[in-house]
Subunit: 278 residues, 2 copies
């Protein structure tokens, strides 16, 4: 096994590969998985020693399924990174934009390129299960009228051609990824890099509970970075809250906030402590 | 035009029809739409005078796209209801469970029936774009080996047969729906029915802002029912918050909370005030 063998969802060339390289450098091998659950299973079983999963996109929102898996699999978050999502129209070598009649890609990617489709009315969009997989697909077929929408990494990996770069509607398109390991490192800190901690908690169904939970942090000047609610299974219309705060559970101040939070909530779990992305 | 002509997403027989009947009774006609955006557009243009959209499911979580549409279309929420989601295996008249080899349905419905597929290993699941639409599909084809997974309402509508009732994994499966109109009624209150209000707000990116926002309600003993965050377009890694509280903006107490909230936030919008579902 290479030093880092990384599971991710999607076909080779997915944006998750870019995230993995940002987090771990280039000396890695990849295990592409069809479903997110398989990514978590691969790491839990030791088939890989790292996993990279998207957790939120600045246009689409959170990838809620992965919040559920973080809780279920209890695989610690040890890093985070942000990838600027650039969608490109990708064709076969020798292909041209003028020949393209159909563009295939994941529905989220298609929705993020609506202006492109408005400007090129002869090109219709067609749903495919995966962005990078759509490039593999067009390379398998011999049809210059079909193009894919995916990352430059995918184009390079499959030896395809960038027909039009950066066709996404909104450049403020970033995806935040988590790096997961089987075990949390003993010392997550690099000196000088601020740490972030992700936790999940369940609140009893009483008035002002979430307010009290947030007070545990606000009263100690601990900054919250994100809060996300998910349904609490078995308790209809009650919620779990996923929260990121700046700091580490090893800081006395954050440790006190966590004890305070435990007084108020039914349960609290730390999902990971990791260096904050730049 | 019938007194109530209701747009909803999906094919005839969708769970949204059950929600519409719970909210408006049986004297309604329906306009099925392919996409949620079309539902909102139909109401905005006056093609229908009501729309029913799902907003959260107790297992799957929120339907985030509809939160975005609520903000974009500014069509007021005037009612809410909860539908217990019962998935059934549905075949052609004369069909039997033993003949079924494939079950087609929406991916969320398929994922909510995993135990059924474990118990019936010879039946494989296949993704279809819609639950009720899957019933229409099997009725169009003449293949007893293909069944659908959908509501009893869909089976009835298409004259199909319930092969096995209630095959969902978890009975704590409810979807909350909103009823939307073009204009909010002047007096949303039925005497004696408690009111709920849905709002959306954006917070400046400063420490403890969300805590302060929640204090506007907690300090006035106003109960929050739900909070949901969505990405703030154009401001990467900043968020909009959708919040439901018990009460009406006409109550002096809630009015004060809203003024307090406006002091803290960049913007606040009321999405609707409506009788709370039982």
């Amino acid at each position: 096994m290479a030093r880092n063998r990384v599971a991710f969802q999607g076909a080779r060339g997915a944006f998750s590969e870019d995230a993995a390289r940002q987090l771990l450098g280039n000396a890695i091998t990849f295990k592409p998985c069809e479903r997110f659950e398989e990514v978590f299973e691969s790491l839990a079983s030791g088939d890989v020693n790292a996993a990279v999963v998207p957790i939120e996109n600045t246009l689409h929102g959170s990838i809620h399924e992965n919040y559920d898996h973080l809780l279920d699999f209890k695989l610690p978050i040890v890093g985070e990174t942000r990838v600027r999502i650039v969608h490109n129209l990708i064709g076969r070598p020798g292909g041209t934009l003028s020949k393209v009649k159909t563009a295939i890609s994941h529905p989220v990617a298609l929705r993020q390129c609506l202006k492109f489709f408005k400007q090129h009315k002869r090109i219709r969009s067609e749903i495919f299960y995966d962005t990078a997989g759509s490039v593999r697909r067009i390379m398998e077929e011999d049809d210059p009228s079909v193009a894919a929408i995916a990352s430059a990494t995918a184009a390079k990996y499959y030896g395809a051609k960038l027909l039009k770069k950066s066709i996404e509607d909104d450049r403020q398109n970033y995806t935040r990824f988590f790096l997961l390991r089987q075990k949390a490192p003993k010392r997550p800190a690099k000196k000088g890099v601020p740490l972030k901690t992700s936790i999940v908690f369940a609140t009893p169904n009483k008035p002002a509970t979430l307010f009290r939970c947030m007070s545990a942090f606000a009263l100690r000047d601990i900054n919250l970075d994100k809060i996300e609610s998910r349904p609490f299974r078995g308790r209809p219309f009650e919620y779990l809250f996923y929260l990121d705060f700046l700091g580490s559970p090893d800081d006395p101040n954050c440790r006190n906030a966590m004890s305070h939070l435990r007084e108020i909530t039914d349960f609290v779990a730390v999902l990971g402590c990791y260096p904050q992305a730049a």
